[in-house]
């Protein structure tokens, strides 16, 4: 296996993964670093990579301060409410105060944003969402990134960070391999902005066989942001806070526009409203502070996403499934009907294919909904990710160590799903976080923090050997058997993924066990994960494509291990409807109104768990 080693040297800002966060970072870095060398390493093609590959029909995070619609702190309060209190409010406030400037630029670049014909303001889908014709959202932001970057390396799967051999806990670049040529790529860089996205496919999906690709978050969301950062020794936060989505059955078509704009609603199989009957017991579980249905309409607090899931799950378990989305009223209006279809074609085409194939016309039939398998990500209604510094003028001491969006590894920054504690950033907020990280990374370099980085040839050689080991394993053991995939010496990436998904589902609260787990199950699961980790050392790849799948699996494994550790640590049920700790079925503010933080030792793999204080924005004079 004579793969070439290709070294790209003297990079100032390396962007590992250029989805919405990464393109924002590349674009902005050029402004603060006129003469800096900015390089993108992306595993696909940035024109259509990441969660926005098929486009979006809405930008879900836009304040509208320009029109006096909302202030940043309003959005923070909303995110706090939705996440049952667990938000890094410094980061959320910082994102929200900048996000509109990103959206205004998108419009200038040609992204079609719909307008309210009466007021001239952006057409609102809901309080925070604006409607767009976003089929080309990704190609447009990719264009911006290409204009700023010195070089874009498409089809590079980044596998590891390079670490400084001169100074402990400082990043020195990244390495990976080219998915087409197989060549080994070394990027020596002063800073790295990780934008490699969230994690799908770590829990067993509801879809089987050929349909297994029909997951809610993209199947290529391989948890690489987490895998890369955990492996580099970065602290992580809120990794237990996986998300479960209530979506159209099988196609996982989005429901946001349906609820907010088309004003459709849900009912059980008997045509009854079902949510409210589950709320009194739920209020007992989580407390009046989080669910106060009597006064909810007065306070204008929306009911948290997880709690609505809880009602859905319980109604189905009570034997009154399926839950339907009542579309038959809205779809009588031809304009709304068209929006309903456009919404899918703009971001989940498969749902349109499904309805066409099953002859479901929502004008005459109310489609079924389902609750999905869990996902681990940090920009939707959940906030998994790295423990990052906030901005100096906002963050309290515990949240600040010099550079905005820098992880606890010096010189390694995050954006989008990579950053923990910042739910509800969505596409626009992820792009904004990339911009913030880029400015901070340039400052870090200008402040001389990246001086004297040294990378030994040994480190480069060791990582190379590690990367290609799955191909080595295949070559060595393949001919021991006649044919096929059953080999006593190795497993292939698909077999490994199946094992991971089964483990996560059964022990870490997947859909197969009604999102339920407990201390005992988690401990057994972790033990099995340990053994699985050993088997992953014997994973085999027969070609470069399988090598890509092997490394995606390793990143998913590291992500999952963190999810296990965090879920075990938080001894309460904070988000009923996302998951349940059967041995601690209540929300427990006395002990757990804190953010969870983990650290995995790079050398031993040992986990240390910590609690970090949860700060909230309070208006002056308010208690």
């Amino acid at each position: 296996m004579a793969y070439k080693t290709i070294i790209e040297d003297d990079i100032d800002v390396l962007i590992a993964g250029a989805g919405l966060g990464g393109t924002g970072a590349a674009f902005e870095a050029r402004y603060w670093g006129k003469d800096k060398k900015i390089v993108i390493a992306e595993k696909a093609n940035i024109d259509r990579s990441g969660a926005v590959a098929q486009g979006l029909y809405a930008i879900n995070c836009y304040m509208g301060t320009r029109w006096g619609e909302n202030n940043p702190e309003d959005h923070v309060r909303y995110a706090r409410m939705d996440l049952m209190g667990m938000v890094r409010e410094d980061l959320a406030f910082d994102m929200a105060r900048h996000v509109d400037s990103a959206v205004h630029q998108f419009e200038e670049w040609g992204l079609p944003i719909m307008r309210d014909t009466k007021t001239g303001t952006y057409l609102r889908e809901g309080r925070w969402q604006i409607m767009i014709h976003g089929e080309s959202y990704k190609p447009i932001v990719a264009e911006a990134a290409k204009k700023s970057a010195d070089k874009v390396f498409n089809r590079i799967c980044v596998t590891h960070m390079l670490m400084d051999d001169a100074k402990e806990n400082r990043v020195a670049g990244a390495v990976g391999f080219n998915v087409r040529t197989g060549n080994y790529h070394v990027f020596k860089a002063k800073t790295v902005i990780v934008g490699a996205g969230g994690a799908s496919n770590i829990f067993k999906p509801r879809s089987v066989g050929e349909g297994a690709g029909r997951v809610w978050y993209a199947p290529w969301s391989s948890g690489s942001a987490y895998g890369l950062m955990i492996d580099a020794g970065a602290k992580m936060t809120q990794m237990e806070n996986r998300i479960v989505l209530a979506r159209f059955k099988d196609g996982y078509g989005p429901v946001g526009a349906y609820f907010l704009h088309l004003k459709t609603y849900t009912q059980n199989c008997n045509g009854e409203e079902y949510e409210s009957k589950w709320f009194p017991a739920l209020t007992e579980m989580v407390g009046k502070e989080y669910l106060d249905t009597e006064n909810q309409h007065l306070s204008h607090k929306p009911i948290p996403t997880c709690l609505r899931n809880h009602a859905f799950i319980n109604e189905v378990n009570a034997g009154r499934g399926p839950i339907h989305m009542v579309t038959m009223e809205a779809f009588q209006d031809p304009h709304l009907e068209e929006i309903g279809w456009h919404n899918f074609l703009g971001m989940t085409i498969g749902q349109a294919v499904l309805w066409a194939s099953t002859d479901v016309d929502p004008k005459y039939e109310n489609p079924e909904l389902t609750t999905s398998e869990p996902y681990v990500m940090g920009s939707h209604a959940t906030g998994c990710g790295a423990w990052c510094s906030g901005p100096e003028d906002v963050s309290p001491d515990e949240y600040f160590w010099g550079y905005n969006r820098m992880t606890t590894v010096e010189g390694m920054f995050g954006a989008g799903d990579a950053v923990g504690g910042t739910p509800h950033a969505f596409s626009s907020g992820s792009f904004t976080e990339g911009r913030l990280a880029a400015k901070a990374a340039c400052k870090y370099i200008d402040d001389g923090k990246a001086e004297g980085i040294r990378v030994s040839d040994q480190q480069i050689a060791d990582l190379k050997a590690k990367i290609y080991k799955p191909m080595e394993t295949y070559t060595v053991y393949r001919n021991e058997i006649v044919a096929g995939d059953v080999n006593p010496n190795y497993i292939n990436p698909r077999q490994g993924l199946d094992r991971l998904q089964k483990l996560m589902d059964e022990y870490c609260a997947g859909f197969g066990v009604n999102y339920m787990t407990n201390d005992k199950l988690l401990k057994i699961g972790l033990k099995k994960m340990g053994v699985f980790g050993e088997d992953l050392e014997n994973i085999a790849a027969q070609d470069i494509h399988e090598l890509l799948r092997a490394w995606e699996l390793k990143h998913r494994f590291l992500t999952s291990e963190a999810v296990f550790q965090h879920t075990l640590f938080r001894k309460e049920t904070r988000w009923p409807g996302y998951y349940y700790r059967g041995d601690a079925m209540k929300l427990d503010d006395e002990n757990w109104h804190v953010l969870t933080v983990s650290h995995r030792d790079r050398n031993t793999g040992e986990y240390t768990m910590m609690k970090a204080p949860c700060y909230h924005l309070v208006s002056d004079g308010e208690e």
Binding site: E28, R30, Y31, W32, A44, N45, R48, A53, Q54, T65, R66, N71, P72, E89, R97, H98, S101, H104, Q105, E108, W109, G110, L111, P112, H133, E135, A144, K147, R155, G209, E210, G211, A212, R214, V215, A218, P219, W220, D250, H342, L345, I349, G350, V353, L354, A356, S357, T358, D359, E392, D393, V394, R435, L436, H545, L548, Y615, H616, V618, S619
Partner: protein, 163 residues
């Protein structure tokens, strides 16, 4: 829904291979045409379908839950700045077209080259502003061109339980 490629239309140009985010459109070495090597990792994102210059790629809903006999076709046109869809139901009762804009500007012309912008001042560097800010936050609305801060919005961050 997983893609497939019509034998007679594909000329092996590789556009689909180049764009697929999942790395599953590959060229068959003997036939020299493209095919989906891993349908269960296909998100039916249509990136390859839109990119194929010969309309050689189509989608057949996942065998697990989508019956045969439907069609969702697309034509994306960067020059016109539009995307056109045609959806046909299995039972033939519904067959309709939908059209949407994909951009409001001639493709790729409206994005600034930041290397040509004047360099930020030291004051700007020391501030919390990003490129084009504060102007772009509120776009000159009522002269309120400034960045929100805790102070400007009368806020403090407190540790503990607040709702």
């Amino acid at each position: 829904m997983p893609t497939f490629v019509y034998m007679t239309r594909c000329d092996g140009c590789g556009q689909c291979v180049d764009i697929c985010p999942s790395d599953i459109m590959h060229i068959d070495k003997t036939l020299r045409r493209a095919y989906n090597i891993e349908p269960n990792m296909c998100w039916e994102c249509y990136s390859c379908v839109k990119a194929c210059p010969h309309n050689a790629i189509d989608v057949r809903g996942y065998a697990d839950f989508a019956p045969l006999g439907h069609s969702v076709r697309v034509n994306r046109d960067e020059e016109k700045g539009t995307i056109a869809w045609r959806i046909k139901f299995r039972n033939g009762k519904k067959d309709f077209d939908l059209l949407a804009p994909i951009t409001t500007k001639p493709w790729g012309t409206a994005i600034p080259q930041l290397a040509n912008e004047s360099a930020p001042s030291q004051e700007m560097r020391d501030s919390h502003l990003l490129f084009n800010e504060p102007k772009y936050i509120q776009l000159d609305k009522d002269g309120k061109d400034s960045l929100h801060t805790l102070k400007s919005n009368g806020l403090t961050l407190k540790a503990g339980v607040y709702y």
